[in-house]
């Protein structure tokens, strides 16, 4: 990175684009939660920030906070931005209660569609959309799970477009990743800039591991008072392996691969140095299809033969449950506000992004006519792959995508291109506003809760709206500010 020592670091942070909400510099001036940060940036030169960034890189390297990208042999550091994001306690209250409400409804929905189908019978959601969804897993029909919790760990992706408007972009109810970055970002920020934490009250988030541990213990099979827990990973080559080990470590539980487990008499055991030990709760980071070659993908070598039978028999809890994909795909997403009303009798606190169903011919027509201004996504896609950002695509890219869309419209939804809020970010050119999203992690056991804080993902490329780490995104420490400086 090239910098000039004399250049004040604050040069770029006043850049406010019309129509885009800048979280630090609103139209009313500097946001109170950014006062301390503003003071620090004003005192810093770009060279100071470069040094901080180098310190952060060393720290992350030393701690091995890496991720792997498919097709690349070397591990990568996820880019960490040294300028944190601040969220006021009042804003956080809206976000957290909204996310909790959403996850309660989604868990109720999952338990319902795998039992009595009340919401389908009531005509709230068309039956064929759920029972005909390829992610609906008929083998889960009638399976009871402790407390009706199907998604023990949910990552709710939010974007902000104004001081008071948050939209839910999607719900991740299967294997949401990134929480380790939320925690390690905080640890790094505290080491790099302890003064921030002395001068203002920022809610700690370090207890996430214990919150998760308690929730998983809550959901142990009936009659097990002191369950043995494990995190299940596909292995060291997986992109999120760091996180798997990290969480196992924070919870003080086994980190297992499929080959470490064996099923006997419908119970799951780990092969240990002193023999077999029963495992009661598995936080699995392996997709449904690969969990059990006897029940699902017969070619899977990552899973455990017979584990689904043990699960059905109630002898092991899988977190998250099998079959959650039907609730977090982008077609079902449309119905979450209705689920909240149906199961909880409440009005949604957080809004969905207005969404066009391409399976509906009239909506498809609109989408095709407005491709240049919409974001189109695969219904079952994730990770920022397979989507079209209309305004950023050229005519050829749009034409290619159009052909895919027309081939199977029901595989796609479209949304308006939102003006995601920006936060000041340290990039090669200096400090500049970059678009961000927010992923809080909702943990469900006996209670539904979340630690104050979330993962902020930032699109490091100028103008980009794609925040995924696999697509060049970075992360920021995210503060919930109780008391500003």
């Amino acid at each position: 990175m090239t910098t000039k020592q004399a250049t004040p670091a604050t040069d770029g942070i006043t850049a406010v684009k019309p129509g885009i909400f800048n979280e630090m510099r609103t139209k009313d001036g500097l946001h109170p939660d950014y006062v301390a940060l503003d003071g620090w940036l004003k005192k810093s030169t770009l060279k100071d920030l470069d040094r901080k960034l180098a310190d952060a890189s060393r720290l992350f390297n030393r701690r091995g906070i890496t991720f792997a990208v498919y097709g690349e042999s070397a591990e990568r550091l996820i880019p960490f931005d040294i300028i944190p994001r601040a969220i006021s306690a009042a804003d956080w209250k809206v976000v957290s209660t909204g996310c909790i409400q959403r996850v309660r409804a989604l868990n109720a929905f999952l338990d319902d569609i795998y039992h009595d189908h009340e919401i389908l019978k009531a005509g709230i959601i068309p039956e064929k959309e759920i029972l005909g969804n390829k992610l609906y897993n008929a083998a889960m029909q009638g399976v009871d799970v402790p407390f009706g919790v199907h998604s023990h760990i949910a990552g709710v992706d939010l974007v902000r477009v104004s001081p008071t408007t948050w939209y839910v972009l999607e719900d991740n109810l299967r294997t949401p990743s990134g929480v380790s970055y939320m925690l390690e970002n905080r640890a790094a920020q505290r080491r790099l800039s302890p003064e921030f934490f002395l001068n203002q009250k920022i809610e700690p988030n370090d207890h996430y591991g214990d919150v998760l541990r308690n929730a998983l213990r809550d959901c142990a099979p009936a009659g097990v008072d002191n369950p043995t827990l494990a995190v299940m990973t596909p292995g060291a080559a997986n992109s999120a392996y760091f996180e798997h080990g990290y969480l196992a470590n924070r919870m003080g539980v086994y980190l297992v691969e499929g080959r470490d487990l064996v099923v006997e008499n419908k119970k799951v055991f780990a092969r240990t140095v002193t023999g077999l030990e029963q495992i009661h709760v598995i936080y699995r980071r392996i997709d449904d299809d690969f969990m059990d070659p006897l029940a699902f993908n017969k070619d899977s070598v990552l899973g455990v033969p017979g584990i689904f039978e043990a699960y059905r028999a109630g002898n092991v809890t899988l977190a998250n449950a099998i079959g959650n994909g039907v609730a977090d795909d982008k077609a079902t997403y449309l119905h979450v506000p209705a689920m909240i009303r149906f199961y909880l009798g409440e009005e949604p606190i957080l809004s969905n992004v207005p969404t066009y169903k391409c399976s509906d011919p009239s909506e498809l027509k609109y989408v095709l006519e407005h491709l240049h201004e919409l974001v189109v996504k695969e219904v079952h896609g994730s990770g920022g792959y397979g989507m079209l950002v209309g305004p950023a695509a050229n005519a050829e890219e749009r034409e290619k995508y159009k052909a895919r869309l027309l081939a199977d419209p029901s595989d796609f939804i479209a949304q308006p291109t939102l003006a995601l809020s920006t936060c000041p970010t340290f990039v090669a050119q200096g400090i500049a506003p970059r678009h961000v999203d927010l992923r809080p992690y909702v943990v469900s056991g006996k209670d539904v809760t979340l630690v104050p804080g979330a993962l902020t993902r930032v699109a490091l490329k100028e103008g980009s709206l794609v925040v995924n780490s696999s697509q060049g995104g970075g992360t920021k420490d995210t503060w919930v500010v109780v008391e500003s400086a």
Binding site: N61, R62, R63, G245, N249, E257, V273
Partner: protein
């Protein structure tokens, strides 16, 4: 503790010990090669080094011309040779990464940071830094990781790491004895006379076995081969002695064998008994007896892998991993 992770912990400990041993041994050979009796490119210091720190095939391939360069390349930065310092430190890190959930953050960071720096080891960086400095760095890094190991819980994981370290120490000590006892008998006639090549060879033997700080505190007569072998093999307070390492191995395996005696534990007990029975004079007379101990060690390692790490049953022919 998971059997698979047990294997990672065992090899973490073995490679860590091996990296440190190799760094120490290279330093000894390097110093020795600077002595007047080895001037003119005498290959002997490099031959014993490769004999101790590498495998038989490597020794056969050591060129007569410029063996120093070949030995340093093989043992410090070779990417393909599993026992080079570079490969050992990588293996320490990779095993720590897989076993991370059973380790402390301090231990993981020590292993990971060491590897981040070790990655750059190659001919150019070693030349720029100097061999001595490079070896010193490697040894200190190993000591740092070892210090972090001391803070582990005294549970299965610590027992397995202790077993790995003990196996590697036994292996290294036997190999040092096997290389140096014949050399001393051949070239160490004047070992009791300071300033002679024989005395310097004896000093090299002490350093190779890492007992140079102890010998003079324990034995009145310098340069005595029998006393040296006793210190290296049978002195129970000497931290790298064969007998102490074997007893530590037995203790670690006892910890793991809660359900009764296992094959590897029985074999470890046999090894301790073999060492206890060893007559120093006979060993000096016939150093080939040491090869029998090495085979016993291999059989323990194989049984350990089968009984505790979930490896396939060992084949009839024992092999060293």
């Amino acid at each position: 503790m998971l059997s698979r992770i047990a294997g990672n912990c065992l090899w973490l400990a073995r490679y860590l010990e091996r990296a440190e041993n190799t760094a120490r041994l290279i330093g000894v050979a390097q110093t020795q090669s600077l002595m007047p009796e080895y001037h003119g490119g005498d290959p002997r210091p490099w031959r014993w080094l490769v004999d101790v720190a590498a495998d038989d095939q490597a020794l056969d391939k050591l060129p007569s011309h410029n063996p120093a360069d070949a030995a340093l390349e093989l043992l410090i930065w070779n990417r393909d040779y599993a026992s080079s310092i570079w490969s050992c430190l990588r293996a320490v890190r990779e095993n720590a990464r897989t076993a991370r959930s059973r380790l402390t953050n301090a231990l993981w960071e020590a292993a990971n940071t060491t590897w981040i720096e070790a990655r750059a080891l190659d001919r150019d960086t070693v030349q720029a830094r100097g061999i001595d400095d490079t070896l010193g760095w490697a040894r200190h890094r190993c000591m740092w990781i070892r210090a972090a190991i001391h803070d582990l819980l005294e549970d299965d994981c610590a027992a397995i790491i202790a077993a790995g370290r003990a196996i590697e120490r036994c292996d290294n000590t036997i190999r040092v004895l096997r290389a140096f006892v014949p050399a001393m008998k051949r070239d160490g006639a004047e070992s009791k006379k300071p300033g002679t090549p024989g005395h310097r060879l004896w000093e090299a033997m002490l350093s190779a076995a890492s007992v140079q700080d102890w010998y003079r505190k324990i034995y009145p007569e310098i340069g005595d081969l029998n006393s040296t072998v006793e210190l290296i093999a049978r002195y129970p307070q000497q931290p790298r002695s064969l007998v102490l390492s074997a007893r530590k191995l037995e203790k670690a395996l006892s910890h793991l064998s809660v359900a009764g005696s296992t094959t590897c534990l029985r074999r470890a007990r046999d090894l301790v008994a073999s060492i206890d029975r060893l007559a120093i004079g006979e060993l000096v007379e016939d150093p080939e007896r040491l090869s029998g101990l090495l085979l016993q060690l291999y059989s323990i390692s194989d049984a350990f892998g089968y009984e505790h790490c979930g490896n396939d049953p060992p084949s009839q022919s024992q092999s060293q991993s």
